[in-house]
Amino acid sequence: MQGIALDLRKKEFELLQFFLLNSRKVLSKSAIAEHLWGDFMDTADRFDFLYNHIKNLRKKIREAGGKDYIHTVYGLGYKFSQS
């Protein structure tokens, strides 16, 4: 991305990678959580940890001079797009 390096933590990197692979697609929170977490988890809808990671990722992209690529879609999920 425009040759600027981002200092990301492991999970933030995984998150960004997932977004880039599925750019311009709405990703539901559960799909993202499953990607980051993987296995069976006893909590069906505890996604606040996700929110934190997305918040941090957004912040880091903004600080590196990027636009806010991550859009929240109706509270259903997130979408990564250039527009």
């Binding site: 296995d39 069976f40 988890m41 006893d42 909590t43 069906a44 505890r46 940890f49 109706y74």
Partner: protein, 424 residues
């Protein structure tokens, strides 16, 4: 109290009473009989002397005057009655008092009054009674002792098949596909017992299998339509022209579908474990795995502090399935993070024998025993599925581990240890 001591107690009590009553009765009967004998012989002697006196000889000096008999002529008139008495006379030779039976009788013969006193020593009679009582007691004692021994032996022998059946039943597990092996019993009652148990366990096993297969099939069958719903929902949220209200419907559908799918996954996992579809043959280092899971958690939940009390180089080795152990540790860590009430860190402790994960919080309102049941939730409205701990316990069970819960000083502790080791 066991079978032998109960029967022995009953026997002893009964014997004691029988001994007391029977012994006393036979003692008095014997005494009475022997006294009668003595009395009769005294009377016979009296009759003999009277006959002789009547026959003519009035010389009483021919009759010996001694301890056993004395005959005298009375000067005045006496009554012609007989009297029986028990007396004691001091014997110089023996140096002790000797009991005697005494017959005093007076009679009138040829105008003369005679008084005859006849005595008979009872010492032989008493000796006889003593010997009889003694031998009787010894006999009874021997009888009691042999009865107890026989009883013990008989109980041991007769009840052997029963104890075998008991042992089999104690080891019986419904989840174990191996049927109970009951020994052949020769005794009809035990045969019937074993038949009844066999019928019972077979029936239970069959019902259990049916139920298990139903859960398994249901979970499998639910999976496909659920996946279809999920992928359609995924497509639906891609559409640009969703209105705000439509989106909120979709949101709630997503939430429910998600929960349903997790629930199904959990049940499927439980069923698979019940069917023993996970070979527990890998060597798993619990501490190493715990550390890597904690690291993952810390990546994921940045704000939660985990205090690790694991000294380096400790290994808690078990034979198991690493996938399952991972799920177990994740579940426990996740629970600890989720229900940690304040900002105090979650503490994780591990050594060669056990792992303990603790978090602070209020005590549960429900009984701790129900904690590991499926769908047991502390708060019915919570997002938790209520399967986490049930799954954790099942995983522990198939690995031969024990999952313990305890609560002390505001801390919930969940600990995992090997079976046959004592908790610390």
């Amino acid at each position: 109290m066991n079978l032998i001591s109960i029967t022995n107690r009953a026997y002893l009590l009964f014997f004691f009473l029988a001994f007391l009553v029977g012994g006393g009765m036979s003692f008095f009967l014997l005494q009475h009989l022997l006294y009668e004998e003595v009395d009769e012989s005294l009377w016979m002697k009296r009759e003999q002397i009277r006959g002789e006196l009547q026959a003519g000889s009035s010389d009483i000096s021919t009759y010996s005057q001694n301890q056993e008999s004395s005959l005298e002529i009375l000067q005045e008139k006496g009554d012609t009655t007989s009297q029986w008495k028990d007396i004691s006379i001091y014997d110089k030779r023996e140096g002790e008092m000797i009991p005697f039976r005494e017959l005093t009788s007076s009679f009138l013969i040829k105008g003369k009054f005679y008084r005859l006193i006849l005595r008979k020593s009872l010492i032989e009679t008493e000796d006889l009674i003593e010997v009889i009582v003694l031998s009787f007691s010894v006999l009874i004692m021997l009888l009691i002792i042999s009865m107890l021994i026989v009883n013990r032996w008989v109980v041991r022998r007769i009840w052997t098949p029963f104890f075998q059946t008991l042992k089999e039943l104690a080891n019986y597990r419904l989840t174990d596909p191996k049927p109970v092996q009951l020994p052949d019993a020769k005794i009809t009652e035990f045969q019937k017992l074993n038949q009844a148990i066999n019928a019972l366990t077979t029936r239970n096993q069959r019902d259990y299998e049916t139920l298990k297969r139903f859960t398994e099939n249901a979970s499998h069958e639910i999976q496909t339509p659920l996946a279809a719903v999920k992928s359609n929902l995924d497509l639906l949220i891609q559409s640009q022209d969703l209105t705000e209200s439509q989106a909120s419907f979709v949101r709630s559908i997503l939430k429910s579908v998600n929960k349903l799918s997790k629930l199904n996954e959990g049940l499927l996992l439980l069923t698979k474990m019940e069917n023993q579809q996970f070979p527990v043959s890998e060597k798993v280092d619990m501490t190493k795995m715990l550390l890597s899971r904690i690291e993952r958690f810390q990546d994921l939940f940045e704000d939660s502090a985990i205090q690790c009390l694991i000294s380096p180089n400790t290994t808690f080795l078990i034979a198991g399935a690493s996938d399952l152990v991972e799920i177990l540790l994740d579940n426990l860590l996740n629970n600890a993070i989720q229900y940690n009430s304040d900002k105090s860190p979650i503490s994780v402790f591990a050594n060669e024998q056990q792992i303990r994960i603790s978090n602070s919080g209020k005590p549960f309102s429900t009984a701790p025993e129900t904690l590991f049941q499926r769908f047991a939730k502390e708060d019915q409205a919570s997002a938790s599925l209520g399967l986490g701990l049930a799954i954790s316990q099942q995983i522990c069970q198939i690995h031969g581990l024990i999952l313990d819960y305890s609560y002390e000083t505001g801390q919930h502790h969940f600990s995992i240890r090997q079976m046959n080791t004592e908790p610390e």
